[in-house]
């Protein structure tokens, strides 16, 4: 699964996710990637999110929208909201994976609860990093 989130010069944000799914999947199984609110979500009032991991758990957790809702209704920062969903809620549901997020100020989060994550971030403040987190 691949994905991206961005904040542009007008402070607009967006999210994209694309996947081949899981090897050996059957019955027309889809995961969270194409589901708005589960694996992909963007709202200028909160943040943009793209998820990767065990799609079934992300669907049941409505993970991407949950991050946004925590910001909108509970006033959490994007980092606090992402940590709550990935490191607390998804862990309790035994959901393996993570997400990337950015808010309209360009603040970004890359959080995950599994062993391997392929990530990159580039920003106008000079940040430019790619890594395979282990």
């Amino acid at each position: 699964t691949v994905g991206a989130v961005a904040c542009d010069q007008n402070g607009n944000i967006a999210a994209a996710t694309s996947t081949g799914g899981m090897t050996n999947k059957k019955y027309g199984r889809i995961g969270d990637s194409p589901l708005i609110g589960s694996g992909t979500y963007a709202n200028n009032n909160t943040c943009a999110i793209s998820c990767t991991g065990h799609g079934e758990v992300f669907i049941r957790a409505v993970a991407a929208y949950d991050v946004s809702a925590l910001m909108e209704y509970k006033g959490l920062t994007v980092e606090e909201a992402c940590n709550e969903v990935v490191l607390n809620k998804l862990v309790k549901m035994e959901g393996e994976g993570g997400l990337i997020s950015v808010d309209k100020q360009g603040n970004f989060v890359m959080v995950f609860n599994s062993a391997g994550m392929y990530r990159g971030v580039k920003s106008s403040d000079g940040t430019n990093e790619v890594a395979i987190y282990k």
Partner: protein, 180 residues
């Protein structure tokens, strides 16, 4: 001045250190950097966040190493079925596709759904029909083939096991987790 930011991901799962050579690791990092550069160039040129995330995702889809577009994993039937979604935070408009085949860049098709349809989510043959109508580029099955993904599938195709991007899971474990 507004801060421009692009963040990307290329998958999830456990890294098998025996299979991850230095050369392969560098190839993954190079692929991530190319996607990052491509998407960020759109932002630097004054492009929209939607176009930036699409551009970065297209580059990752075109890279055989990542499980999306070219290099997608095999289903139980030995096919590639792909899913994608895109959402614009400015107006909450979105487009998504699921179970599409032979579409070179599923994120391009999802963007067509966002811009040029009255719907949010198209699936299966109907989504493929929409791709043809919109002139989205298609490719033969061979284009999507990768030996690595084929070998990964061959190892589990006669079982009910499946793998995440980089991890093997046993169905019995998943039953415990109440998947589905």
């Amino acid at each position: 001045m507004q801060k421009l930011t692009l963040v990307i991901h290329g998958g999830a799962g456990t890294i098998n250190k025996e299979e991850m050579s230095d050369e392969l690791e560098q190839a993954y990092l190079k692929g991530l950097q190319e996607a990052l550069n491509g998407g960020f160039a759109v932002l630097q040129e004054g492009g929209s966040a939607v176009n930036a995330v699409k551009a970065a995702t297209v580059i990752l889809e075109d890279n055989l190493l990542f499980n999306a577009g070219r290099g997608s994993v095999f289903t139980k039937k030995g096919l590639q079925e792909m899913d994608a979604a895109i959402m614009d935070g400015k107006n909450l408009e979105a487009g998504a596709v699921a179970g599409v085949r032979n579409v070179r860049n599923p994120i391009e098709l999802a963007t067509e759904v966002l811009i040029n349809s009255n719907h949010v989510f198209l699936s299966g043959k109907g989504a493929n029909d929409f791709a043809i109508k919109q002139g989205v580029k298609l490719e033969p099955d061979e284009y999507f083939f990768s030996q690595f993904r084929y070998d990964q599938w061959k190892a589990v195709r006669d079982s009910d096991n499946y793998t995440l991007d980089h991890t093997l899971h046993d169905l019995n474990e998943l039953k415990e987790k109440k998947f589905g």
